[in-house]
């Protein structure tokens, strides 16, 4: 019996355009079978193939002597010295989280962790940069609440601490929230495992959960399509996370690596079995024979296409030598993890799939994994952009500083974020030295004198005004965030969240963002070791702001014995402001948004020389300063308020102009030091005040009572999460 041939309209319902269908016909030299078409449709989706962005991603600087694995594998890996490596990765789960916030976010955590332990690393921390619409809308609150519960529910139970994140609120995220997740893992050098299948005759063993109709046409297609049509119709494809299964899977995999029992391993994410088999075979230049009947199904009547596309969570595909199979199975049994041999590595590069005794697919593995069309989509700068740049924010002649500061502190994206991070276990593994609630979080590498700092940063509002400068500035901000706990910027991962790339303006944003990130990384001398692109973040034709989000890894060597914290200011200490002169930088600032309600103008470009100098100075000061804090959202006024509130002691600070209090000029740093310390010299800086009293006191610009400031700051987000 000849297997049925896919009808031509099937490809359209799978989200493939006619040209792509014809490309498949050319590759195969015949019409594809339904299962084959299903595989191409998911593997060639934007989400899996990066077909619109790949050409531009080549721009990123990816090399440094400490890079062990750069972009392209499941996670980037860098060398920390002392035999330790770190694996890092960032991912988005935007669309699934809009459909079902708890499960969408939970499975986002599960997915990113698999990327980490696939490399041989033990996942040690997670971060969650989040973006929603304004919280006076009840649905936005519902989404935020569900997402945070989902991250907590999964992250806590799987036993990986969540060490920080970010929250930004803007109308453009109302129907398209952004849920990004970053994870970090640690491993000994000899434990590094890659995904390239090798050795004809080796076995492909599927480990973990059973396969159901989860996310069919889910992550990959959801993430690759405009959003309005997706939400209603695709609901049955929601995936349910099982952190217990994942926890066992982590332990089994780490033990398999320790005993040297896997040749290669690949997690099953978007596009499930199709992706895992095709990618590991293609990376090893091999083929694979896969038997779908050997797969442990949750629902009996699944078609070959459904099995191949299923995105059931908590599954891994290990390639093992036949002689080791018994030990692999025994180990899996000990941890109550299902293990079944579903295939065999073959010579020749063909991926052959059997189901019910028939060959349902027979395709070149590399054509699935790497053969997707590349699109050089047209791009151009928005016509009205230069006019908008010229039309900067209009500043009033004078402002009421205390009430403006109060409004900023009461903004839910600026005030206290502990209602989020208190729901996350951030202390597991006895590693957390600086917990969330400061700038970068800091964890120690036990048994060494070193620490790792991480900060995740994004700024859609500023990137909307100038994607290139906005993107560059988040890199500099992240660098300073890790520097203030004593860490040197070391490697970056990025998540590019943008709208519909078929619009030339969005393609232009993508290119600009990549340029901005690249230039900043080059100036810092750090590599981009991985990333993720999430396109089609649009609803009813309206795109989100271009929203790159970065995860900066910093290496603290040595780790400060008492790293700076926001809550260590004491009466009598002196306050210094370090960095370039203030200048007026209000385009895209929190002051412009919250107080002036203006979103226009052009943010200043970063200054690499000044940026490097401040970062270096911060690392030095972190060795002994009680408090070091970068000046970011809300400017100097908010930075001082955060120190005063967290330390519960007033501050008295003098500046010339009210603008100096709210400008967000980059590369500036507040240091609180013993009164006799002299920070003059190494770089521009001046003493601006003293710690003491019970107000955030700006002299002739007015003062805000500390209790009043504290109450507004504490309630800012909490009142929306009650």
């Amino acid at each position: 019996m000849t297997p049925p041939v896919a009808t031509e309209s099937l490809h359209r319902s799978l989200g493939m355009i006619d040209d792509e269908y014809h490309a498949v016909v050319t590759i195969l030299g015949r019409e594809p079978r339904p299962a084959e078409l299903a595989m191409y449709s998911v593997m060639w989706s934007e989400h899996c193939s990066y077909k619109s962005s790949r050409a531009w991603l080549a721009r990123f600087p990816t090399e440094a002597p400490w890079v062990v694995v750069g972009p392209g594998e499941n996670a980037g890996v860098v060398d920390l010295g002392d035999g330790w490596l770190a694996a890092l990765r960032i991912e988005s789960h935007n669309h699934p989280s809009f459909v079902e916030p708890y499960q969408g976010a939970a499975t986002g955590v599960g997915g990113i962790l698999r990327d980490i332990f696939t490399m041989g690393a033990r996942p040690v921390a997670v971060w969650d940069p989040l973006r929603f619409g304004p919280l006076d809308d009840s649905h936005n609150r519902y989404l935020l609440d569900g997402v945070v519960r989902g991250i907590a529910g999964y992250g806590n139970a799987v036993g990986v601490p969540t060490l920080g994140g970010e929250i930004e609120l803007d109308d453009c995220y109302t129907a398209n929230p952004l849920v990004n997740v970053m994870a970090l893992g640690l491993l000994r050098r000899q434990q590094l495992v890659l995904s390239a299948a090798s050795g004809a005759g080796n076995l492909a063993v599927l480990l973990g959960a059973s396969t159901g109709r989860d996310g069919i046409g889910g992550a990959s297609i959801l993430a690759s399509a405009g959003f309005d049509e997706a939400s209603g119709a695709k609901r049955p494809s929601v995936q349910i996370g099982d952190p217990f299964e994942e926890k066992k899977l982590i332990e089994v995999c780490l033990e398999l690596y320790r005993q040297g029992l896997v040749v290669a391993i690949q997690d099953l994410g978007a596009a499930g079995i199709s992706c895992a088999t095709a990618e590991s075979a293609a990376r090893g230049g091999m083929g694979m024979d896969v038997d779908l009947d050997a797969i442990h199904l949750r629902e009996m009547d699944m078609t070959a296409a459904e099995i191949l596309m299923s995105e059931s969570q908590e599954r891994m595909l290990a390639v093992v030598r036949p002689d080791d199979l018994d030990r692999v199975v025994a180990l899996a049994e000990r941890w109550e993890i299902a293990a079944s041999v579903i295939g065999k590595v073959t010579e020749g590069g063909t991926l052959r799939v059997h189901h019910h005794g028939e060959v349902v697919a027979e395709v070149p593995a590399a054509s699935l994994a790497e053969g997707a069309p590349r699109y050089l989509r047209p791009y151009h700068q928005p016509d009205d952009l230069e006019a908008a740049w010229a039309d900067g924010p209009v500043l009033p002649a004078s402002v009421d500083v205390p009430s403006s500061l109060l409004r900023l502190l009461a903004d839910p994206a600026i005030g206290d974020t502990s209602p989020i991070y208190r729901q996350y276990d951030h202390q597991l593994f006895l590693g957390t030295v600086v917990e969330p609630g400061h700038d970068g979080s800091l964890l120690r590498i036990k048994g060494t004198g070193k620490g790792l700092a991480v900060s995740t940063d994004g700024d859609g509002a500023r990137c909307a005004l100038d994607p290139q400068r906005g993107a560059a500035r988040i890199v500099w901000e992240a660098a300073l965030n890790v520097a203030v706990v004593g860490a040197r910027p070391y490697a970056l991962v990025d998540n590019l969240n943008l709208g519909n790339p078929e619009k030339p303006e969005v393609m232009w944003q993508l290119i600009e963002v990549i340029e901005g990130l690249s230039v900043a990384c080059e100036a810092l001398g750090i590599p981009v070791v991985g990333g993720n692109v999430s396109l089609y973040n649009e609803t009813a034709g309206v795109d989100i702001h271009p929203t790159p989000v970065v995860g900066m890894l910093g290496l603290a060597d040595p780790m400060p014995a008492r790293p700076p914290r926001l809550d260590r200011a004491e009466a009598g200490m002196a306050v210094w402001l370090l960095g370039p002169d203030d200048g007026d930088d209000f385009a895209g600032s929190a002051f412009a948004r919250v107080v002036l309600d203006q979103r226009r103008g052009r943010p200043a470009a970063p200054d690499p020389a000044a940026g490097r100098a401040v970062v270096a100075r911060a690392i030095e000061l972190a060795g002994w300063c009680p408090v070091l804090h970068d000046v970011s959202r809300g400017g100097l006024a908010v930075a001082m308020a955060e120190i005063a509130i967290r330390s519960q002691v007033g501050v008295v600070v003098e500046v010339d102009h009210w603008q100096d209090l709210f400008t967000e000029s980059p590369h500036r740093l507040v240091a609180v030091v013993p009164s006799d310390a002299d920070l003059d010299g190494a770089m521009p800086g001046r003493r601006i005040g003293t710690v003491g009293g019970d107000a955030i006191d700006f002299g002739r610009h007015g003062a805000l009572d500390l209790p009043k400031a504290t109450a507004a700051w504490a309630a800012a987000l909490a009142r929306h999460l009650a």
Binding site: A209, D214, P236, F244
Partner: protein, 84 residues
């Protein structure tokens, strides 16, 4: 008026709690097949009659008590029969 709402996960979605409990029961020697978890919420509703109570509870389920994306619910009122 007492209303009981029974909430179950939609068919086809995985049920890790059920699966884990099934495994534990089998290990204890019980011959069980599939196991599924659900929730019940018992409410005292201030309503004129059963129909009004049912309507109110249905509304509560849609808005708050159940998650329509992954759950189905059934409302029971003491006098009446189940409706979906």
């Amino acid at each position: 008026m007492r209303v009981v709402v029974s909430i179950t996960r939609k068919d086809g979605l995985s049920d890790p709690e059920g699966a884990t409990t099934a495994k534990a029961l089998r290990q204890l020697g019980y011959p069980v097949g599939e196991v599924h978890f659900g929730r019940t919420i018992t409410l005292e509703v201030d309503a004129a009659d059963a129909a009004a109570a049912r309507a109110a509870a249905t509304d509560m389920c849609t808005r708050l008590l159940a998650n329509p994306v992954i759950e189905d619910f059934t409302v029971f009122v003491s006098e009446g029969e189940a409706v979906r």
